[in-house]
Symmetry: D2
Subunit: 379 residues, 4 copies
Amino acid sequence: MKPLNIGMIGYGFMGRAHSNAFRKVGNFFPIDRRIVLKAACGRDGAKTQAFAHTWGYESVETDWRALIARDDIDLIDIAATNNVHAEIALAAARAGKMVLCEKPLAMNPAEALKMVKAVEKAKVPNMVWYNYRRVPAVTLAKQLIDEGRLGKIFHYRAKFLQDWTISADVPQGGQGTWRLDAAVAGSGVTGDLLAHCIDTALWLNGGIKEVTAMTETFVKERQHALTGKKQKVGIDDASAFLARFRNGSLATFEATRYARGHKALYTFEINGEHASIFWDLHDLHRLQYFDHRDDGVIRGWRSIHVSDGDQPYMKNWWVPGLQIGYEHSFVHQVADFLAGVASGQLAAPTFRDGLATDYVTDAVLKSARSGQWTKVKSA
Amino acid sequence: MKPLNIGMIGYGFMGRAHSNAFRKVGNFFPIDRRIVLKAACGRDGAKTQAFAHTWGYESVETDWRALIARDDIDLIDIAATNNVHAEIALAAARAGKMVLCEKPLAMNPAEALKMVKAVEKAKVPNMVWYNYRRVPAVTLAKQLIDEGRLGKIFHYRAKFLQDWTISADVPQGGQGTWRLDAAVAGSGVTGDLLAHCIDTALWLNGGIKEVTAMTETFVKERQHALTGKKQKVGIDDASAFLARFRNGSLATFEATRYARGHKALYTFEINGEHASIFWDLHDLHRLQYFDHRDDGVIRGWRSIHVSDGDQPYMKNWWVPGLQIGYEHSFVHQVADFLAGVASGQLAAPTFRDGLATDYVTDAVLKSARSGQWTKVKSA
Amino acid sequence: MKPLNIGMIGYGFMGRAHSNAFRKVGNFFPIDRRIVLKAACGRDGAKTQAFAHTWGYESVETDWRALIARDDIDLIDIAATNNVHAEIALAAARAGKMVLCEKPLAMNPAEALKMVKAVEKAKVPNMVWYNYRRVPAVTLAKQLIDEGRLGKIFHYRAKFLQDWTISADVPQGGQGTWRLDAAVAGSGVTGDLLAHCIDTALWLNGGIKEVTAMTETFVKERQHALTGKKQKVGIDDASAFLARFRNGSLATFEATRYARGHKALYTFEINGEHASIFWDLHDLHRLQYFDHRDDGVIRGWRSIHVSDGDQPYMKNWWVPGLQIGYEHSFVHQVADFLAGVASGQLAAPTFRDGLATDYVTDAVLKSARSGQWTKVKSA
Amino acid sequence: MKPLNIGMIGYGFMGRAHSNAFRKVGNFFPIDRRIVLKAACGRDGAKTQAFAHTWGYESVETDWRALIARDDIDLIDIAATNNVHAEIALAAARAGKMVLCEKPLAMNPAEALKMVKAVEKAKVPNMVWYNYRRVPAVTLAKQLIDEGRLGKIFHYRAKFLQDWTISADVPQGGQGTWRLDAAVAGSGVTGDLLAHCIDTALWLNGGIKEVTAMTETFVKERQHALTGKKQKVGIDDASAFLARFRNGSLATFEATRYARGHKALYTFEINGEHASIFWDLHDLHRLQYFDHRDDGVIRGWRSIHVSDGDQPYMKNWWVPGLQIGYEHSFVHQVADFLAGVASGQLAAPTFRDGLATDYVTDAVLKSARSGQWTKVKSA
C-alpha cells in the first residue's frame, strides 16, 4: 500500500484527536493508503517532541514553513489556533499538499474565501474537521432526512451549552484558554460552538436565508494568561439567533459557556410534516425519532440506540449495544476523506462548506451589533 | 337516575381515594346511577365526622354493623385495615349489599375463599381495589398484549420499591404505620406491594405455576405505636421471588421498603417474541414499547405519552399531552364497576381475582420459610 | 361557612377545568367559604343545560348580562373565548363581582388595561387562570429561585410545542378550533402558548426589557367552520423571539403547533451562576435541578419527583411517589385565590399581571411585523 | 523503555478488543513498557494473517503451543473460546509467561482452580478480562461505596439482557455463534452474561453466601453450524437467581438472550441506607446516584455524566462532556495491569477473582437443576 505521510501542526486537544484518528482508522476501516505519522510540528520544541513520542511521529518541526517545504509530507493537518489557519493553508495549498483544517475555517469570511480559492486552484483534497456530522446517530439523521421520512420541514432548533467560563477567574489567552482571546480565536461561542451547530444544520436542512441575533459578554474583563494583565474581553460569551432557512423552515440557535450543568450539550431537533428527530451529544449514541405514521395508540418518541451493524459506521466497530465515543467521529472522517480522495469525489465538509458556515457566523455577529435582520451570503 | 347509596368504612388514605372517585366519576364518565355519599363509618366518631364533612357524607356511623344494617345503603366500601376485611365483607354480602374491598382481599387465602363464596352465593356485585390496572398506560399494555402484538411471552419482571421504613425509629401499629404490624396487615411488603405486582401480572400474563422466594426483616424490633413497647417485627420488609408462569414465561418479582430513592416505584416489563413493554408508576403516563417489526435502522423503545383520546380512558379527561394522576385510576374503576353492574358482566378484579393473588402471596411466604419451590393454587 | 356562589361563563375545555377545581378544592384544602356552583352560562341553551347537569350547577343562563345582574352570584368566572373577555370583565367589575378570567387576559393591551383599571377601581378580587404556576414542580422552581439558590441568572429558555394543526384540513373557527380564528382568538400561538411561557417567566425571572421576534403562518388558508368558506388564516402558527430580561439574562422563547411528536411540550430552563432548573409539562411531576456546589465527582442533574409532603401543595394530596395531574393546578389556584381573598393579599396572577404578559405578546407581534428589536411596556 | 511482547491467541471479537487496547494504551496513559504486538495466533492461517496485518502484529502462529514456546513472547493473551482457556493458561504459566484470559475464566470451577494454582505457583502476573469494572462510571460506583457513602447495603439488583437468539434459525457452534454450543461455551447466559454481573457484584458488594436459581432453554434444538445437523441445545437461554450476600443484603440477578429490545442491557442497582446507585451499559457514561442526605425538597436521582477530569480515568482522554466508549474499558485494564506489574501489586480481577465468579455461576447452575438453595464456595 502506498504511504500517506502526515504532517501535523499543533499538539493540543485537536492534535491528539486527529492523531488518534490517523492511527486507528486502518484497524477498523478498509483504506487504500498506509498512513504514516511523519512529522509533528509546534512552536515549543520540547512539547512537540513529547507529543511526537507519545503518538509515534517519526520527526519533529518547530516551524510550519519548514514542514510544508518537506517533500516527504503529503498532507498538512492544521490543528493550530484559528488565527494561523489561513496563512498555513494558503502555503500548504501552494505546495500542493492535501490540507485538513480545524474548524472554524478562518477568522472571518474574507480569509476563508482566500483559503477556498487556494485549495480549489491548487486542486488539492481539503476538508474541515466538523466532526459531529460523523457521529453515527447524526449520520443516521441525515440518512432519514434524505430518504424523505420527515417530509416538509417546519422547525430546526439547535443549541450548544457549556459552563466552563462562568468564573471570572478563568483567564483569557494561553494554552487551554486561547478560545477566550478574540485576537486568537476570532470570536467566542459563535465561532467555537455555534459553528458546529451551523455546519450540521446546513448539511441536514440546507441554506440559511437570514438571521437576527443577540450576543453578550457576561464577564467584561479577564486577566490575560500571557501578559498577566486584566484586559477587556473581546469575545462573545453567549450568542443566540433566529433564522429562516431557504426551505421555509424557522430556526432558533443558541450557544453559551454560562449554562450551569452542561459540559458540552450540543443538541438539535428537527420537526417535519411526518416525523421529527432529536439528538444530544451527551448521549451521542441515541437518536430520538418520532414518526406520526406509526399506529396511533402506540405512537411515541423512539430512543434508537445507534449501534447495530446496519446503522452508519457501526459494522466496523464492535457488536450491537456497545458504544463508541467522541473520538470515533474523527476516525470516520479520515476514512471518508481517504475514500473521497480515492474516488475523486471529495468528502464534505470541504473548505467551501467551511466558508458557508463562516458566512452564517459572520451574519450572526453583524446582526448582534446592528440589531437588524441580516442576509446570509451563499458560499 | 336511580341513586346508589354508598356506605364507606374507613377514613384514611384509601377512604379519601375512594370517596374522591365516587364524587368525581359522574363529572367525567357517563354513568346510570346517581352516586350518593350516604354514610361514612369509622371507630373514632370525631374523626369520622370531620371526614364526612370534608367529603360531603350525609351521615356518620361508628359501628360497621349498624351501617350494614341500614336499608338506605346499597354498597359497602371496605377501606379499613386488612384484619377486618373478611368479617365486614361476609356480613355485607349476607345483607345483600354490593361490596368493594381494599386490597389485599384478606389476611390469608382461607379468609379470602370464604369471602369469595359469600359474595358469589349472595350474587352481589363485588370488586377488589387493585387500582393500577386502570392507569391508562397499564390498560393500554393489556390491550396490546390481547391484540397479540407481543407474541409468545418469554419474560415478566416486576418490582415495587419504597424507602419509607429504613429508619429504625418508624413505629409499628397505629395510624399511618399499621402496615408494619403483622397482626393488622397480615404480612409486610408481600401483601402490600407485591400483591399489586401480582394482580397486574395475572391479568396481563395469566396464571403463575410455581415460585421460589426469599424475604427479610431488616429491622427486627420496633416500638408499637399503640402499646409504646418495643416489639418483635412480624412483617417482611423485603420480599423477592422467581416464578414460572403457566404460559412458559419466567419471572422475577421484588418488593421492598428499603430501596433508597424510590417512593413508590412500581415497574413491570414484559418481553415477547415480537415486542416488549415497560411501565413505571413514577411516570405513570408513559408506556415504553419496543417493536422488533419496526424498520431496522429506526427501531427503538418508544416512549408513548398515553394521553390521547384514542388511548384508554383519556377521551373523558382533558386534551392530548395533559396528564391525569394516581387518583384517576380509582375513578376509572368505579366507572367500570358501574358499567359491569349495569351489563351484568362484573368488572374485574372480582373477589375471586383477589383470591388468586392471595394464593400467590401465600405461596411466596411459604416458600420463603421452607426454601423450596412452591406450587400456586388456582382460584 | 359562608357560601361563595359561582357564575361560570363557558362550558368548553376551560369551563370543565374550572368547575372541577371549584368542586374539588374543599375536599383537599382548608377553605373558609362553601363553594356553590350557582349558575352556568352559555349561548347554547341545551349544551349549557347538559353541562350544568354534569357538574351540578343549580341553574342556567344563556345571556351573560343576565348572569351578572343576579344578586345571588358572587364570582364571575370567564371561561369564554378571548374576544369577549373584556366586555364581560368590565361588566362584572362594575357589578362588584369577583372576576376570574381565562388567559390571555384580552385581545390586546388596550383592552387589558381597561380591565385592570376596572377591577382595581371596583376593588374586586381578580385573577387570570395562568394555571402552570401552580404545578408543584413549577412552584418549587419559584421557591428555589427566591431562596437565591441559582445566584445571578444568565439564561432563560422556554418553549411550548404542539402538533395538532399541521394538517391543512383542520378548520378555523367554531368549537374546538376557534383558536385558529384571529377574530376570536386575537392571535395564534403567541397569545395561546407563548403567553403561558411568558407568564411563568415574568414570575420566575422578572421583567423583559426588549424582544426581537419572528412569526409564521404555514397554512395560509383554511376553511371556516362556521361559514364553510376557505378564508385567509390570520393567526400565527409559530412564533419565536429572543429577549433580554431586566436582570441582564438572555432568553429564547418559541411556540408552535407544527412540532411533530409534541402534544403539549411546555418546557423551561433557567441557568444561574450556581444552579440550573429544567421543567417539562409532559412529565409535570419532575423538576430537574443541577447544583454546581455539589461535590464534584457526584455532581449531576437531579430528577426530583415532586410528590413529598414538604414540597408545594403535595401534603394535601396522597402519599409520596403518587402523582397528581394537570387539573390539580387549577385546584391550587382556587385554594390560593380564596386564601388571598381571606387575607386581603390577592394571589397572583392578578389582572395586572395578565396585562404584563399581554404587553410582551404585543411587543412580540409588533417585532415580528417590523423586524426590529422592540421595547416591552411595564404593567 | 523495555518492550513487552504480546502473543495474542484468537482473532475474533475479543482478539480485536484486546489488540486495540494494547495499541492505544500508550497514547493516553503513562506506561513504563513499550508494548509490541509480536505475534497473533489462530488455527486458520489466512484469517490470522489478515488479522495480523490489520493490527500490525509482526508475526503469525497457527499453533498456540509454538507461540508459548517462543522466547520473544512475554505475555500470552487468551482471546480464544472458553473450552481452551485452561489448557493454554496452564502451559503459559508453566512457561513463565504473564497470562491474560478472557472471561469466564474456565468451563467449570475445577478447571479454574487448576489455573489459579498454576499462575500462583509460577508467580506470573495474571488477569481476567472482566472489562466492565473499568467503565469510568462503574469505577466511580466502587469509589463511592468504598468511601462509605451508601452506608449499610440492603439490596443489589443486576441484569444483562440481550435479544439476539430469539429466532430458532440462529445456529449453534461456529464463528459468531459458538456461545450457543455448550461443548465450547460451557454454559449459556450464565457463564457469558451473568458472569459479568457477578464479577462486578463481588467487587462492589463482597461475597455471595447462597443462591436459588432458575434457568430455561426456550429453543430446544438448533442446527449446528459445523455439522449442519439439528442438535439438542445444551446451554441456558435465560438464567435468574435470588441471592444473599455475606453482608446481609438481598439480591436478584437475571440474564437472558430473549429480552426483545435490549442489545446489551447490563444494569445494576445498589440500595444502601443513605444512598443508591444505578448504572446501565447502554448509557455507560452516566451514573445515577441518589443521596438521602441531600436537602429534602431538592432530593432526587442525579444523572452524573462521568466525563470530568476528576472522575476515574477521564483526565487521560478528552474534555468534560465528551464520551469514550466500550473499547476504553479494555485500555484502562491494560494500563492498570501494567501499573500492577510495575508495583508488584497485581491489579484485579486476577485468576483467583475469576475463580470466585465461577464458583457463583456453578452454584447457580446446580441450584437450577436441583431446585434447592445452594451455598457458594469461597475462592
